[in-house]
């Protein structure tokens, strides 16, 4: 045991003398590794940070699962039902003019609220409308909500940029509009405007607030009203709900629960995974790109280590032979060169982590303004220790791979071939 330690120390001290003699190349190889790790840590941190941010606002605006009623063509036509044993051809079939409401929606909301897995639930009624002011007419949606419920779900209060939601329930025909929509209509809090439903009914409405979620799709075309207001626009009874939105305690259970609830109530439904497929897929793609870029950089860094070691071994061929002649084994010689590889790798990886952190930190303090990520005043960067551990492990792995072949070559040097006069 003691012998192993002294052997290792001796190998290390020889390794350091070798590196000292080739200081410039050693430093260049170390910088190569450091650069690879720096870029990895910084890139992953930055991409993950913005992904996390995007997903956070996205998920804040989307429920874990939704139940709704869908316009669909029944797979069996009336004729098929009446004459089931013959082939019926029917041209130009149209969907029935059904109501989009959920059957017994109010009762369903009450039931779902009792489910122990459910954190919050909100029933709402939404419809397509035209917003009009003077000559401007913009189509969009209006969402009738119970403010308390919807606020618990989506944290609406924090999205207000002017006015408030407080009078939504009490003031008739009052709405809170998205900031993009307000800009297009050129309305401010306190202004009045017109609204036309799909059926052609006209209402005069007052803007009592403006919100901004950061999601262009919502901010440019959506407004909130109370459930009652929207039901009155549609001329439907107070039991009329078009969508139930649910947040669970554990969002991973959403797809499962969505299926169950759909079956129970015979509603259509969806969950956050289905709703955000593109976002999740683009995140996966970004990650892949990051890892590939980092992989290529580390490959180059590994090549740097391989290079310097190979060069060193060719130049030190005679020294290796001498060491063997005085009693160093193949393993001792291998250890000398592996030590060099690992010293380069470990110092490179550590300084890479430090530089990566410093650059990430600097970027995260950089002022940044964006219309989409409006709540940002600086760039989002993730400092998840996992990425630092990964970066370090990649660095060491690269070093091990790059150091292995040259070290083996050194171990195989035949002293007689080299030293024979």
């Amino acid at each position: 045991m003691k012998k192993i330690v002294t052997d290792f120390k001796l190998a290390a001290s020889i390794a350091f003398v070798h590196m000292g003699a080739k200081l410039k190349q050693t430093i260049i190889a170390t910088i190569g590794v450091a650069l690879g790790i720096t870029i990895f840590v910084f890139m992953v941190g930055f991409i993950q940070g913005s992904q996390n941010y995007m997903q956070a606002i996205m998920f804040e605006q989307s429920p874990h699962l939704r139940l709704f009623n869908e316009v669909k063509l029944s797979d069996k036509t009336i004729i098929d039902k009446i004459y089931p044993h013959q082939i019926n051809t029917l041209g130009h079939e149209k969907p029935k003019d059904i109501f989009l409401n959920l059957k017994d929606g109010k009762q369903a909301v009450k039931d779902i609220r009792k489910n122990p897995l459910v954190k919050t639930v909100s029933g709402s009624v939404s419809t397509k409308v035209f917003y009009r002011l003077g000559a401007v007419s913009i189509n969009g949606t209006i969402l009738g909500i119970n403010f308390e419920e919807a606020n618990a779900l989506f944290n609406l209060e924090s999205k207000i940029v002017s006015g408030s939601f407080t009078e939504l329930a009490t003031m008739p025909n009052s709405i809170v509009v998205g900031t993009g929509l307000a800009k297009k209509l050129n309305v401010k809090t306190g202004d009045k405007m017109e609204l036309t439903t799909e059926k052609g009914a006209n209402f005069s409405i007052s803007v009592i607030g403006i919100f901004k979620t950061g999601l262009v799709d919502i901010d440019n075309q959506q407004s909130y009203g109370s459930i009652k207001t929207v039901q009155r626009f549609l001329n439907v009874p107070s039991s009329y709900l078009t969508e139930i939105q649910v947040k669970l305690f554990d969002l991973e259970l959403a797809p499962d629960q969505a299926k169950k609830l759909q079956k129970n109530y015979n509603y259509s439904g969806s969950d956050w995974k289905k709703d955000n497929v593109t976002l999740l897929e683009s995140a996966a793609l970004q990650n892949m790109i990051t890892y590939n870029v980092a992989g290529v950089i580390l490959l180059i860094a590994g090549f740097g280590i391989f290079n310097i070691l190979t060069m060193m071994i060719y130049e030190k061929m005679k020294d290796i032979a001498i060491l063997k002649a005085i009693g160093f084994s193949n393993g001792d010689v291998r250890r000398i060169f592996l030590t060099q590889a690992f010293v380069i790798g470990i110092i490179g990886a550590f300084s890479g982590l430090i530089f990566g952190y410093l650059i990430s930190y600097a970027i995260s303090k950089m002022p940044y303004h964006s219309d989409v990520m409006f709540s940002l005043d600086h760039l989002p960067v993730s400092f998840n220790p996992l990425y630092y551990i990964m970066g370090f492990s990649f660095g060491i792995l690269t070093t091990a791979v790059a150091g292995y072949l040259p070290s083996r070559k050194a171990a195989k040097v035949d002293p007689i071939t080299i030293l024979r006069g």
């Binding site: 002294t6 052997d7 001498i322 160093f328 001792d332 030293l419």
Partner: protein
Amino acid sequence: MKVLEAKNLNKYFYNPKKFKVLENLDLAVEKGDFVSITGKSGSGKSTLLYLLSTMDTDFEGSININGSEMQGRSNSWLADFRNHHIGFVFQFHFLLPEFSVLKNVMLPGLKRAAFPPQELEQKAMDLLKLLDVQDQALKRATLLSGGQQQRVAIARALINDPLILMGDEPTGNLDSKNTGLVFDLFKKLSAEKHQTMLIVTHDEEFAKNTGKTIHISDGRID
């Protein structure tokens, strides 16, 4: 007591074509003997010495040193054996250029790790003194003259008190004064410390004064 016994040694080279360098060679050396090996250039002296020093493992036959068979041993076993029991001096000095003279001499001892570094350093200094290069101890090895480096290499071969010191024309690059110095040291070590000396030499004067001379021609002992 026989410290070294080689039996039926055969050694081939395959380049450029297969040819036999050593043929059915038998050799026995007593402990404490001062033996010189002579022979024409190309007769196979170096080849024999590389085999006996365990550095060349590609041979037929048996080499027994201090009661242990060398044939078929692993690389690490042989390295360790060499480190403990065999000192080797090449015709050319072969010092490590980045290390000081002192460190060069100490290196086999550091590898052996039987003594603490301070003790080893003292021992190395004593050897350098015996070889009259103690004033060069802290210089880098490459700054010394060829003859000085050669004497440092001899000190290095002696640091672990080897059972056998093998030299391949170790005094070939020394002037007559230093050749005499080295010869006297070898003689003294074999007589007083019973270390065995196995020295290839072209120097007839040197060979004449050793206890025993082995003459090789065409890969055989005559």
